[in-house]
Symmetry: D2
Subunit: 382 residues, 4 copies
Amino acid sequence: MAGNSFGTLFRVTTWGESHGRALGAVIDGCPAGMPLSEDDLRAELILRRPGRRYTTPRREPDEPQILSGVFSGRTTGMPISVVVWNRDVDSSYYESIRETPRPGHADLAYVKKYGYENWDYRGGGRASGRETVGRVIGGAVAKKLLSCLGVLVTGYVVELGGVSFPKADDPEEALRSRLSPFRVLGNEEEAERLLREALSERDSLGGVVEVVAWGVPPGLGEPVFDKLKADLAKAMMSIPASVGFEVGWGFALAKARGSGARDPIVASAGEPVLGGERAGGMLGGISVGGPIRVRVAFKPTSSIMIPEKTVNIRTLEEEPIRVPGRHDPAIVLRAVAVAEAMAAIVLADHSLRAGLLSPVRLEWSASCERVWKLYEEFSPAS
Amino acid sequence: MAGNSFGTLFRVTTWGESHGRALGAVIDGCPAGMPLSEDDLRAELILRRPGRRYTTPRREPDEPQILSGVFSGRTTGMPISVVVWNRDVDSSYYESIRETPRPGHADLAYVKKYGYENWDYRGGGRASGRETVGRVIGGAVAKKLLSCLGVLVTGYVVELGGVSFPKADDPEEALRSRLSPFRVLGNEEEAERLLREALSERDSLGGVVEVVAWGVPPGLGEPVFDKLKADLAKAMMSIPASVGFEVGWGFALAKARGSGARDPIVASAGEPVLGGERAGGMLGGISVGGPIRVRVAFKPTSSIMIPEKTVNIRTLEEEPIRVPGRHDPAIVLRAVAVAEAMAAIVLADHSLRAGLLSPVRLEWSASCERVWKLYEEFSPAS
Amino acid sequence: MAGNSFGTLFRVTTWGESHGRALGAVIDGCPAGMPLSEDDLRAELILRRPGRRYTTPRREPDEPQILSGVFSGRTTGMPISVVVWNRDVDSSYYESIRETPRPGHADLAYVKKYGYENWDYRGGGRASGRETVGRVIGGAVAKKLLSCLGVLVTGYVVELGGVSFPKADDPEEALRSRLSPFRVLGNEEEAERLLREALSERDSLGGVVEVVAWGVPPGLGEPVFDKLKADLAKAMMSIPASVGFEVGWGFALAKARGSGARDPIVASAGEPVLGGERAGGMLGGISVGGPIRVRVAFKPTSSIMIPEKTVNIRTLEEEPIRVPGRHDPAIVLRAVAVAEAMAAIVLADHSLRAGLLSPVRLEWSASCERVWKLYEEFSPAS
Amino acid sequence: MAGNSFGTLFRVTTWGESHGRALGAVIDGCPAGMPLSEDDLRAELILRRPGRRYTTPRREPDEPQILSGVFSGRTTGMPISVVVWNRDVDSSYYESIRETPRPGHADLAYVKKYGYENWDYRGGGRASGRETVGRVIGGAVAKKLLSCLGVLVTGYVVELGGVSFPKADDPEEALRSRLSPFRVLGNEEEAERLLREALSERDSLGGVVEVVAWGVPPGLGEPVFDKLKADLAKAMMSIPASVGFEVGWGFALAKARGSGARDPIVASAGEPVLGGERAGGMLGGISVGGPIRVRVAFKPTSSIMIPEKTVNIRTLEEEPIRVPGRHDPAIVLRAVAVAEAMAAIVLADHSLRAGLLSPVRLEWSASCERVWKLYEEFSPAS
């Protein structure tokens, strides 16, 4: 059943397989009047692109092409269709493992659900991490839209291979992770050491991404099912390889006493606000003003040279499989861009749902531009 | 904006406030032909009911009344409307704290979003845990429907106040938690000790619920956004007081190496299946056959006698607040029933979406009945 | 599958059967701050009520009870649940015709779809016109909401038994039909004569309702599928007994030449507006300012004493059936209230979708009140 | 707000502007295992293509390119993305009329809603009839899917310029209209005469399309809002230039007496079925088995050389406009393909909703193939 659209008012539909002709996204519900160019998308795509250090060597130029919804450099309110052509595709390897579903991958699920005959087994097909190209495109449009609310969406790695990395206390600090190939805020050497070690052992690492949205106005989230925390959870847990999600202190809060688990409410500039981050910036699943903070756990890359047991679909015999391919030692590095994108999509959608942005027409002002420029300032060249 | 419906084909809409006239749910999309009575609902409502030991002493009979969609004891395929009248309501206390939003509660969010004048402040209004009555009703219908697929949805407390409690290895073991006032599988004395201690200190405890759905067939979950894990995440994170969610090993998986993070695929009765529980029973967000295992973290009850800082909305002065009310020392005990209900709703919806159940007509057989009876067998008398 | 909700942001879910315990609606997405009482609903319910002259003599008090979403007389932004209890129910007659599906009624469709055993045959069950109680409740809330945009939704009969009746040129004229038992604007004697004649022949009449929404602002309707005309069409064609729909000149426009089919664009108060009603107030399916005009055709009441052929479901023999019951000689008279309600729901939803009303909080002003009072001014006492 | 997706389980999202780079559709929810090629789409696109006789001379090759969702010639269950590149685009003319919204076109609505600056005025932008390319692509996939239920979707012109044309009594007869440039069943000379006459007077004609779906099984349509007739109405009234919709006898039924308005129920091959076409094959908005018959009225082409009054958006002065362009004398001729496509999308969606087709996996059999071949048999070469 149809499951490739996300969002209610700001709705992103993605399509495309790892080794198909192309991938893309249709973004429906972006108001008219927002400047948008392929450069805006490219900058975000670079951050999820493989080919940076310690990510898979597959070379994808990931050149986005806007086919509709933009006229004279501005959105028209019509659906924005973006395509990215697949170029560097080599499917030959997958032929050889077609009958042995890779442990940790979606292969077995697709075979059971859609049938072996109907399964595009090349590079994981639709279940490949490459699918997230469409998400990042949608996220870029969402981020730009959110700029007009003063919202900045950032992400970084706070845990890699079980080792903790620093958190950000302000937006600029958070943005700095965009310039790090490991998406961390400090301790780059440690990150590099961990990755090098895993690689040398032909193994892989998991990790945790923290996404912080700065400057989120109060009122986002619709009780009782479409709470902001609920939609963020769905967004994050739809990302390939995600295995956990928490808001604020999350699982640590479950160990706390009630007396230490509540953010005090304090007066700030004549406004009652949260005096802490235990709740991640939400009460009752609704933003109350201030940063929204969530974390997403990602499992280690499943495609490694260390063999694991599987079952041959034809013979039904158990046999070991090792997956060389072209893969990341830690998928979490590239997942940062995707988690940011999904958060931005949720926040854009909820900003529209809460009436904080016009669903029809945007006034793109200097202050929108100022926020948007912050992303560019912290964009790697390639 | 409309946010009180959950599900696509099996859709539950809930309504009602803590101190309003009534609460209820409309369940739309239940196939015709399923036996359904108020007794079926009552049994599940008892499990989320306050008034059991160590939960709030508020006495609610929670008598469900089915107003539509059932004829001659069977569902007709039409929307099932259920109402539960509020009886034991005393709003006087809330008058006194109306101007001082309770830390950890949704008060401040509602005031900021909907306006102080429009806020039903009595007992938390719509943001009260009492809202979950509608979820449990929807969940009871979903559980009964899932019986025909052989699916049994169970839950229990695996962590309370930072202390671990046992997990279930089979469905009957899991069901046994329904008979425990602490919803644990063993170590009841420890649970009781923890609660008594917290109560004596006028404090409260958080905890973690594990929900296991047994006998889930392969193929549930729709790529790429409506994955089973994604919809479960949304369902769980929409529950009041939830702060974290994980599938399988979850956050622990983020600390593992790739070589230890993959469930081997093994042959079982001539079928390739998962030889482990790291992934919680899903690959690519799709069930592959076997139990689905997720965990949800709940924060400690916020309404305690230990004061916390808040801001008076009129004076904008900071002042401490203590919240006597009638409250649970650990909301997580009652959250088990709600988490089970939400899981059941997601699984029923996805069973329909994957075509595993007819959306129109159900044949209620002896084997459906057998599964459904298991719940009854482990139902507390009151 | 779930099909009992209508609308995207302003969403009405209805439930209930003709001879069940009760019927009702849940209205989700109404902004906070709108005054709402049971009186507001009662006034509209009276207009669809049977028991006025020349409608079925079934006596239903139709007392609406608001169970949630309203606090201190104002909406809270939470779902508004309304119930109307069934009182005057006599199902004995339907027992006798249970095996002979009534021609023109939904009986046969329900039997084929849901199964004979699962069919609530009493009074048409869910397929009864009584189902529209929930629509009218939703419509009343929508109308009140639209008052704040200056929009007034009116309807009247323009054709009865093939005879034409006058159209309205201004809102007050249109409102006057609310005081007519035949819902016409003039020629009441002719309407009465037609009905008396049909009754005396134990036959029934069809007719056409025109719905005009006055004061609709430009910009309602979302290309390309959720055009205003498309959603109005769906709304109207979901009403029991509706068989046709047209906007503006409708089918007559299909006979016109292009040179006579376009509304000129003229300047009015310095604004370009439509200088005609050919297009019903929309271009490209989007409102352009000015009245929206649509028409809905209703077939004659199917339940009449004149026999028609049917097939006994048990014997599979053909046999004639005559349906005494308690029925209207012309369903179209009561359909006016329902068509108005559905139009109001669509317009309220699209006003929110186009950002013309805040989805969160309404300022209820004297000018809102002024528009809303117009309905009351033209409300029959009972 | 997002409005470019249609359908619940079988969901078509379209995008693209008349003079943009490309147009396309994403079809989400098509089960795996259906053979699909670009040829399948091409055959249907030819039927809506301009460039046939008496349609606009704009030459569009309309070459569909499938970018995803098909592997080894069969659908995979993943979203099917199709693109059609715009080639024959000349926007210069539209520059000259940019400030004078064309009467009968959507120009004024788009300017008022999205803002003059954000309006893609070239060739009507998104509001162009060219938008329907995406609908026809979605419809082709839907038709092929419906073949497996034995459903054949046909359409033809039953009224042109006020003159009636014959209806079909069986599927093959209906299919024959695909070979007629006027999409009529007989009286081609009369159709040609009417068109030639209108052209010579530089005027245009409206008309009515009848769509008949043959072999529709009982049970399609979900009470009470998602009735089959309601969703067909929305589908049809979302088509550019549509102004009216009716099922069965439609508006004529409103003039009938009840005694003549009911289809008798008769026994056919031991099954109770409708013995007439008054209701268009539905009862209570649900199909009962047998052909579904609806009609859609289309207004005459608005772009003609005969001038009409408009208002200059800059000067706010009234002035006449004539629209040369490259246009059809009767849009209704090409609308047949679009109306068929929309009907097919609705029926495919409802077949899935009613559980008559697996949402996951299709067995493409010889009998599916046989039905699908019927379309090809009656396909024009170009």
